[in-house]
Symmetry: C2
Subunit: 337 residues, 2 copies
């Protein structure tokens, strides 16, 4: 079952790997996928940061999504975690389960997208495995990163008085998913073609915030990526840190498209705050470090918004409306399960 | 999609992880699966050895196989590679895709089997992910091991004059699979209940040869695990090392059950030599080291058999019958694909 690049190979798996994946394995320790395992010298004095995440066709992505975006989403979901933990990517392993009808028309763009992202994010393919399945496509990625020893950012660590910040904009992917499932929504929300496309693109291809991994490590007290919805993920961070957090909903950063949709349909605030697939970073930062963080992140091209404050308490998150009252959501977290 | 242990969690995924997998995450860097990633300090002066391998219900195992053996096979397939590469396990990440009908009756023994093996082989669960799927169960494992820097055993490295050795016995799992699919075979082969069970057990639960990882590293010039059949895997090793190998089929070590079956049905030699799932180690060893290797491996409880010799050449493997003529196989390697 090994992923191996063997020119005289007999099997379809070997041919597939030689054709599509061996060219991506540029790290010398991947041995061109021509051995049974990869060898990697970890940076001296570092902790490894390890993350595995899988996506399944029909559950996490649409079977007819462009294959290059599927590859990018699979890798970026993991890179987003590495970024939020303050880690620099070292490489990844891929396990791919493919129905028999999947051929070149899907694999060629899939491998192209994966290779482009491996290059762009400095995260080479180190090895893996392809298997056939009678079920849907499944892509499982295990990503390795590194942080200076003991310095991985945790969910735990936030203190009363810390400010709560997020990168980028929140809710776009969840609105993009609604648009994908309901073509009429764009009209209802008076979205032009570009705004509608932007939201859908945010669902298809997240943007891991690796550019500020080191900056986060220097300034944040706690961090995680927002993949299961801001409300649910903040609640997890609060519980891990044993603190409360009060968020001012009006300060949650929204894209132009999300603002337009929300103006037409105010109930969308729940989708925005609880929807999944943002892949932005949620962090808590001591008040005296927030300006430095903002400036350094901005210089790295990543917008940071302060959305609330951490308070002593039992581990809950409140989202306060413009009247200062907490919003009640029918569901707190997004789960594919 | 993160694997996380969150007591106040909303999702089925979180409950499942808290119940079945968090208790297995005993390594301090797994944070009880209560963070987004694991942190692991790699041993100083070591290379990481990285391997990912997946198994799919209906392809690599039977849907009604005992769940504890499914877990063990998924982990052991990876540990077998680490052993053959000379590596000591550090831990593993798990990605699990589950159909919705999978419940406690499957998950409880699965987690029990996985936990027992994680303990037995000193390879703790560090993190992972569970997902729902409309397809069959898929278990993907990424395992990390360590070797002294630059010392990972490769497929490349064998030289003319080296001896070819294998651990344990060959062909049992392939015969076990035949028995599983053809109940009448046990009678045809005059196998008693115990011999028949032994062969089937070898298919269900392989035995990774971690006990001799360090011994292999000290003495072998090249090594890999035999997972896709001895003939095909030896051919891969020969091509990577750019050598030939001549194997005396009569010296290939067989279990009592395999010998009995072969005596009744001589054509089974092809199944034995080309069948998959042995998970034994195939290694090439300089002639002057073979006795030391054999003694040290024996002291570690692992039988080693010399089955042939490496010769200069273009990278092929021949299996010679008792008349000295090469056997012709209709297929050279086993592939699930």
């Amino acid at each position: 079952m090994a992923m191996s690049n063997d020119r005289a190979a007999q099997s379809g798996e070997d041919r597939l790997i030689a054709r599509y994946f061996a060219p991506l394995a540029k790290h010398p320790g991947a041995f061109g996928l021509a051995d049974d395992a990869a060898a990697l010298a970890p940076p001296a004095g570092c902790d490894l940061v390890l993350k595995a995440d899988g996506i399944v066709a029909g559950v996490h992505f649409f079977p007819d999504d462009p294959p290059d975006t599927v590859a990018k989403k699979a890798l970026r979901a993991n890179l987003s975690d590495l970024a939020a933990k303050g880690a620099t990517p070292l490489g990844f392993l891929l396990t791919l389960a493919l129905p028999r009808e999947i051929g070149d028309a899907w694999l060629a763009p899939f491998a192209r997208g994966l290779g482009a992202d491996a290059e762009a994010f400095g995260c080479p393919l180190l090895g893996g495995d392809t298997d056939s399945t009678t079920g849907p496509i499944m892509i499982s990625i295990a990503a390795l990163g590194a942080v200076p020893q003991g310095k991985m950012l945790r969910r735990a660590g936030a203190s009363a008085g810390d400010r709560v910040v997020v990168t980028g904009t929140i809710g776009d992917a969840a609105l993009g998913l609604l648009l994908r499932n309901d073509m009429a929504a764009a009209e209802r929300w008076s979205l032009g073609r570009e705004a509608s496309n932007n939201l859908q693109q945010r669902y298809l291809v997240p943007q891991p915030r690796l550019a500020i991994a080191e900056i986060l490590r220097a300034h944040a007290s706690a961090a995680m990526d927002v993949s299961d919805g801001l409300a649910g993920d903040l609640a997890k961070l609060c519980r891990a840190s044993a603190v409360n957090a009060d968020i001012e909903v009006a300060r949650v950063p929204l894209s132009a498209g999300a603002r337009a949709a929300l103006a037409k349909e105010p109930a969308l605030i729940e989708t925005i705050i609880t929807g999944g697939d943002d892949y932005e970073v949620l962090a808590c930062v001591p008040a005296d470090k927030i300006e430095t963080l903002r400036q350094q992140a901005s210089a790295a091209g990543v917008p940071i918004s302060e959305i609330g404050v951490v308070a002593a308490g039992e581990g809950g998150a409140r989202f306060l409306g413009s009247d200062g009252e907490p919003l009640a959501f029918s569901r707190k977290s997004f789960s594919h399960f």
